[in-house]
Symmetry: C5
């Protein structure tokens, strides 16, 4: 049975992990969840490394919410590089789901955006692991997570 790792943070202001887990469980069966919660996004790369190496994950979801300050963007950049480095070393996908606090105008919007994005990235993770051909069919079609799809460029000609 496949294992999906879910790594999230106590820093985030939305329980992204919970939304992701629900979406995964609604998407299908045939997998077991392994989870790790860390303080902040910069701790996610090691958490994913451990989910792969110690907990046997075949794929990880890394969920986090950078704050509004300029410095938070630097932290997100560092975390992203660490996640990519980890995935390449482990040869297994890490689906990064970051929701920047500054993307939403208020807390209600932040909660809604976080939920949608976590759910849509969870479905991507599920597809990567169980139905890669469904992604292949949608190559180049302008899909987005947490916002309306941009759609393919050809459609508007």
């Amino acid at each position: 049975m496949k294992r999906i790792g879910v790594a999230d943070t106590t820093f985030a202001r939305v329980d992204l992990g919970r939304y992701a887990v629900r979406a995964l469980q609604a998407a299908g069966t045939g997998f077991r969840l392994v989870r790790r919660t860390v303080p902040g996004i910069k701790d996610l790369p090691v958490a994913c490394r451990q989910l792969f190496a110690e907990d046997g994950a075949d794929l990880c979801l890394a969920l986090g919410m950078p704050g509004k300050a300029e410095y938070d963007r630097t932290c997100a950049h560092e975390a992203s590089l660490g996640l990519i480095f980890t995935g390449v070393l482990e040869q297994r996908p890490i689906v990064e789901c970051f929701v920047f606090e500054g993307e939403a105008r208020d807390d209600a919007e932040l909660e809604a955006l976080g939920r949608r994005r976590a759910e849509e990235h969870a479905l991507n993770a599920y597809a990567l692991l169980f139905h890669p051909s469904s992604l292949a069919r949608r190559a180049g079609s302008g899909l987005r997570q947490g916002f309306p799809d941009a759609g393919p460029a050809r459609r508007s000609r």
Copy 2:
């Protein structure tokens, strides 16, 4: 028989992978294609790593389309570093083909630019694998992909 890996994304608004594959097939024979489609450009490094390590690719084409926002440039930078890191680790070339959505004024131009650049990078990939001497002959000649060639500096003296 050599294998060429093609990695593309569902985020892109142009089906870059399809254009690249057609150009490869028109360029010659003697290779087999292996493909992976992932959600976004930051997933391309792991996809290439898997195309090399699991699917036996000798070279990868990594095709993606960063959006128009400032943040998308950061994502492209992270993806590029991951692709370089992956290629160095695997000791095999990854031809990166990124088309920034902001490079084109409208969707028709985006489609045309994406097509040209995907095709020209595909031909580069083919040359790297099968005719490296054709690249050597054109060293320092100011070639471009998706735009007119700049040409060598000496020509204009």
Copy 3:
């Protein structure tokens, strides 16, 4: 018995390591401390690598205080990337605690901020090692270190 590595610097203007150690000792028992002091934050990644590989640490706290200049931000960025890289290689967590000199208005505030943040990161480190479920229970709850918690977005609806 678990080992916690504590790496700090002579550059910092607050004795962050001392505050962290006191908080760890107040948090519980069952661990042994191993320590290394280095000149500046860019030396922390190697110090942590040595704490893991030579001193047997299961987790490291990396404490540092970047100065006020623009260049110090670059150094902090480099140090952070090195810490993430080291943690991923070693497959063990490094809890980074950086206090930027420019975050405080005067020395008294700097001392107080440094103390609070070092203590709170030390408690995070303790939780990661001994009570990971306590972090899991607080996932997505907007926790902060050295400043008041932001709280979950849902609370304010």
Copy 4:
């Protein structure tokens, strides 16, 4: 017999590889050249990795010409990081010779600058491999490549 790897690009508008090779051949004997031409500067790290690992190079010259756009500076940064990473992994020097198109006012100046810098970096590469003591004698003397030497600070007192 030592081997010197020369990696250059079809993107460059000056045949930097040719100038470098001529300078190497004029500098002395006792080495064999191995060459690879790739599309752009981001392909240089893998080319050098292959020159080391497949072609037996003891040192590589990596020659490239980033364009004038802001984005080209990002590409150069990514390529440089990749070259440093590759050299460290392989434990062998990569002499980077980048000529930014924007450094010259016109094509004639670009050709001349490219030639001088390629030749001077080639001589550095030769010295690193065959006469390291000649570099040691000039430590701290303000040498430049492609522009007049800055000279040591003490001279002007």
Copy 5:
């Protein structure tokens, strides 16, 4: 007997390596010096890797002087990342000593600043290798290299 590696450049306008070596020799005995001079700061990571792996260094001093241009800051950033990466891989400290040409108003000041900083970093290197407890005693005390110490924040209350 311990070995200290000293890596410096021909690009620097001050003979930082000479000042560092004198300070090391004045600090004590019990070590042997191994040296490598390279063209510029981006060559320092490989030089240190070789000092460790081929010359048996237990610690390296990496001395360099980035120029005044914006681009030199990028080069320094790349070099720093490479040095951190190298130290982590080798599990041994690299004490980076960079003096930016723009830090000094004229050549005399540059020479004096370079000398002081090289000497003070050399003493740090000596302490790291032979007297780590002397660094531990000064943790959090606001030490600086090449400029007056900032001192601890508590002193000024």
